[in-house]
Symmetry: C2
Subunit: 434 residues, 2 copies
């Protein structure tokens, strides 16, 4: 039952030399003698990440850098290699070193990551080269048809059982929920998200919908059930598609929802509505114009659409570790980059909403459930995977609370239709199908 | 009292040779003998503009092209030069020829312009080169400090009396109104627009606001009066600024609203809020990054802002005639182009709303009032100016109803603030200051 999901990507060489995670209580003994060089490296590291208020503790228990105040967040290093790895590439290496237990954080992991993000951000903002360099550095990668399949398999085929343990039990959404009332439960907020999307699309019974990247098919079933539309939904994750089909059959929706195991580039048909929630992150900017062409090809004359995606204020890559270990090929676009989907085909953007803090709250709910179900999860995965996944959830919360990531919902229309609502008030009234 | 406002830009040579407008009932006699060449040119012209269902009638009363069905819109040419001018550059020349009375349209002018727009659009869409060529063709012009002053003077200093005759009587807005209820009067819709802007900005008493391009100062006074903020508003139109100051003094707002006769590039101070309604059209894409820098410089750490502007789905110049005769230097950006204001400075776009059809309705209200006050306006301007201005209003309605122009309101925040509302429902509740 236990699987180490890092294997397919190759275990990073530096991580392989670390101690067994289970021995992490004895870290003091495995790092060897502490020298002046180690202390100097620790101080260099703290400065390199923008001098956040952390205390760096070496493997012999000695504080090598940062304040000694006992309320300070404490970071413990198991050996010199851990410090060197971080100095070499903190963004990429921290995740691996933390996952394998060669770095320990005493205190609240979220507070630690948020503080680190803000310190790095402030350091970058002080650099006069930052704005110019970031454009060169942050060129997104490309996603071919076969590359996409392997990237998507890596993440989404971890096992439906695993995701079921910490996603909502109502509509199984692995995307940002919507909390118009911040006291909502995860289930309420995911259902609210689906209604929000459907109302933005102004769905009418009998309409046809193309969905690109449908996850476990929750939105497609929801639209068919509550809004009376027919949906053809595409996804290249085999496990998700077979789950989605079973559910649709169980719920008697098989006639109205068709799940196709194929790439969005192969969408065929003539639809009133196009929708894509949480797929654009995996498309790659090189393919945005092509995606717009797919939408243009399959959308009727008065059709409209919605794209929901993680994004950025300024062009920049996904966190390197998350891109490498968790979401290969993922790239969050700026709104400007997204316009390459719409402008070449003259789609008319009608509405953009940024739901950044909603994703932080969604992730917080996921993390709570993840932690509550740790016993089950330990039966499925090894400790390194679990530490990595928690760090990914916590790091993502921090990315949204610190403004490093955004969440955009963009509604667009064909350019010549004048059947537009006079205000967005209809999104905020209670009279919707339940 | 009569002024010909075309003079400063130079009367187009082709128009100068036309007949006196007052003699337009005798067009048959002034064009000379009709030849086979004239009939051929008329047919070429109809094809060149995409074969709209128009009947082209020559100066001798003969139908030279199009259906002879009496319900067809009829276009009458006064001489061969009018046909040749249109063949050479229909977008630019139509306005001049129509203004000087060398082309007459029998029937509804709006229906005529809308039909022409749609026919040209369809013809362009059929051209395989359209998408590629439009990028080259439509490079925007640049606006220097002194160029901006002369461009703005040309349009906005036509006389406050003139604008007063057809703009709303409540807040004197020369920008798109907001009709959440489409039966609203112009006054109601302009007040609704100002509330909509203020609610999007979540104004709080005591906050400071910088306004770039304030027109007659209506928004600044409204914000001070109804939301208790202090406003510093910039405008380079002398007539508008002096009107705005007088009004503020009359309304006892001089302490809370300061009007500065200066360019947006010279905004100085430290503000909670930045707002600009209907100025970006005059900024020029070359200066968007600079505008973002001005906002970055003058906005506090948790500040936010709103930009309201005419825009486009796809990069393209303002209609050539309007750009030349009515709004020199004007350019409506795409959303993608607008991001050059925000992304270099890491502003976080929170909300975009497209109010395209609201501008068509606003312009319809303006046109109705313009026509109702024709007697007054004839005392102020000559017939050619009046025909040109009507064509500008009618043509603008058509541009918004056919989707050639858009109206974007973009709300942005500093990237690190988490003081964000959980939904946009607050924009759609009735409990706002009256």
């Amino acid at each position: 039952m236990r699987r180490d999901k890092f294997e397919p990507l190759g275990v990073p060489d530096i991580a392989g030399r670390g101690p067994d995670w289970s021995k992490s209580t004895e870290h003091e003994h495995v790092g060897g003698r502490v020298t002046a060089l180690d202390r100097w490296l620790a101080r260099q590291l703290l400065a390199a990440v923008g001098d956040p208020p952390f205390r760096f503790v070496l493997w012999n228990g000695e504080t090598a850098a940062g304040p000694s105040d006992k309320h300070t967040l404490e970071v413990r290093f198991v050996d010199r290699g851990a410090i060197m790895g971080l100095l070499y590439d903190p963004e990429l290496r921290f995740g691996d070193l933390y996952s394998s237990g060669r770095i320990e954080v005493e205190g609240d992991l979220l507070e630690f990551v948020e503080t680190a993000y803000r310190a790095l951000d402030a350091k970058l903002a002080r650099s006069p080269w930052h704005h110019r360099l970031s454009r060169l550095r942050n060129r997104p990668r490309t996603n071919t048809l076969s590359g996409s399949r392997s990237n998507i398999h890596h993440h989404y085929d971890l096992g439906n059982e695993f995701y079921r343990l910490w996603l909502d039990r109502e509509v199984m959404q692995y995307t940002c929920a919507y909390y118009p009332d911040p006291t909502m439960t995860l289930e309420q907020a995911q259902v609210a998200k689906l209604h929000h999307v459907c109302r933005k699309l102004r769905l009418e019974p009998g309409q046809t919908v193309a969905e690109a990247g449908c996850g476990w098919g929750g939105l497609a079933r929801f639209m068919a059930k509550h809004y009376g539309v027919k949906v053809r939904a595409y996804n290249i994750s085999r496990e998700q598609v077979s789950f989605a089909r079973e559910r649709a059959a169980e719920e008697g929706l098989a006639e109205r929802v068709e799940y196709v195991e194929d790439d969005y580039r192969n969408i065929r048909g003539d639809f009133d509505v196009f929708v894509s929630v949480g797929m654009l992150e995996h498309v790659g900017t090189d393919h945005y114009r092509e995606l717009g062409g797919v939408i243009d090809r399959c959308l009727k004359d008065k059709g409209r659409g919605l794209i929901h995606t993680i994004g950025r204020n300024q062009a920049g890559l996904m966190n390197a570790w998350i891109e490498k270990r968790i979401f290969p090929g993922a790239y969050p676009p700026t709104l400007g980059q997204m316009m390459e989907i719409f402008e070449p085909w003259e789609f008319s953007v009608q509405d953009v909403e940024n739901l950044r803090l909603h994703y932080a709250r969604t992730l917080t709910h996921w993390l709570e459930r993840f932690d509550r179900n740790l016993d089950h999860i330990e039966d499925m995965f090894d400790e390194r995977f679990i530490r990595a996944w928690r760090l990914y959830l916590v790091g993502s919360i921090a990315a949204f609370t610190t403004g490093s990531l955004q969440l955009f919902q963009v509604v667009f229309e064909r350019p010549h239709t004048n059947e537009l609502p006079w205000s967005r008030a209809h999104l905020y009234t209670g009279d919707h199908p339940q």
